[in-house]
């Protein structure tokens, strides 16, 4: 479906969906997957990761009642989505990444960063991660690529599409 040139999505909004690809490098392992992340509000999240050929699909979700991991036909519950991400062998800092992918800093933690003259966050250092940003044009507020590095791992998210009304949130 051809997406018309929509007005720049409001990067402050808590309701969004991204589709793209994620790569993770940690203790000499490397993984890649397509990613479909829907965020309805601060507490309602669904992240789907699946292998390039449609296998190994996993789903991490969270709402007020807690977090759930669907993997290999099993359902595992926990109180935090980050704990489940580790368990799924995808140790991604989900709580902070939720802001970083939007070209924003996590609001309550100490940070160091630089914003360019177009008002786009260019790099950010926070929570032990160093994050670099790419934008499709100088006018996009939402990045199309972020590269994050910590002492123990490296994470790249390539975003091919941003949406502001995720289907998940209207169900």
């Amino acid at each position: 479906c051809a997406t018309p040139l929509k007005p720049a999505l409001d990067s402050e909004s808590e309701t969004w969906q991204l589709q793209g690809k994620i790569g993770l490098w940690f203790n000499d392992k490397q993984e890649s997957a397509t990613i479909d992340w829907s965020q309805c509000n601060a507490n309602k999240t669904r992240i789907r990761l699946s292998g390039p050929l449609g296998t190994g699909a996993i789903e991490l979700s969270a709402d007020q009642s807690g977090a759930t991991l669907l993997q290999g036909g099993e359902t595992i519950k926990a109180d935090s989505i980050e704990a489940l991400a580790d368990r799924a062998a995808w140790p991604i800092p989900v709580d902070a990444l939720r802001f970083w992918v939007r070209g924003r800093a996590q609001p309550t933690e100490k940070l160091d960063g630089r914003v360019n003259t177009n008002g786009q966050l260019e790099y950010l250092t926070q929570l032990g991660w160093q994050i670099n940003y790419r934008y499709r044009t100088p006018f996009h507020q939402l990045p199309n690529k972020i590269m994050a590095e910590s002492s123990s791992s490296r994470l790249t998210v390539i975003i091919s599409d941003w949406y502001d009304q995720p289907k998940l949130c209207s169900q």
Binding site: Q19, K21, G23, P52, G54, T55, G72, G73, S160, K167
Partner: protein
């Protein structure tokens, strides 16, 4: 049983295959989640070059001994020894030998006039719930996989050519000529 023999017969008609493909991933309600396009080259058993070109560039090459998985967007290369576990991924299944298929999957065939669908269900908990190999007029035309989130990945071969010769570099990966090919 008979269905495995039928699958054997059908797959033996596709000892090698070269085609473009369109891959569509749909959720349980049938909504299109993602569409990707690419090319596939296959020489049974276990020689495969699966390259998806858009929206993401991903390359899987196997010569039956080594499997290379190269993600050009992420500049990530995984090189692994080929082993039977490898045959759990769809690209590898269509290259697998008949005995491997019969050993790892229960096979049932669904017939409707001149098309056949072979339903493969992993015998142990696999990376997917079910896979169908699709044949029309005896030709291998595509496959459909249901993953553990019940999303469906449909792969349709476009203008497939069967039983053709490949030059031996097809099923080898080396970084320089891959980058040069971009």
């Amino acid at each position: 049983e008979g269905d495995v023999a039928q699958l054997h017969l059908h797959l033996s008609g596709a000892q090698s295959l070269s085609a473009n493909f369109v891959q569509q991933v749909r959720d349980t309600d049938g909504n299109l989640l993602q569409e990707s396009k690419g090319t596939i080259a296959l020489k049974r058993p276990n020689n495969i070059r699966w390259e998806s070109l858009e929206p993401f560039r991903y390359l899987l090459v196997s010569n039956g001994q080594t499997v290379w998985r190269y993600d050009a967007d992420l500049e990530q290369l995984n090189t692994e020894e080929f082993n039977s576990l490898m045959s759990q991924t769809p690209a590898m299944i269509i290259g697998a030998s008949i005995d491997e298929l019969a050993a790892d999957y229960s096979v049932t065939v669904v017939k409707s006039d001149n098309s056949r669908e072979f339903i493969l269900i992993p015998k142990q908990q696999g990376a997917f719930l079910e896979m169908r190999l699709l044949f029309s007029m005896g030709k291998f035309t595509g496959m459909r996989l249901v993953d553990t989130l019940e999303q469906t990945t449909q792969i349709d071969f476009i203008k497939p050519k069967y039983n053709i010769e490949f030059d031996e570099k097809t099923f080898e990966f080396n970084q320089e000529n891959e980058a040069a090919a971009r």
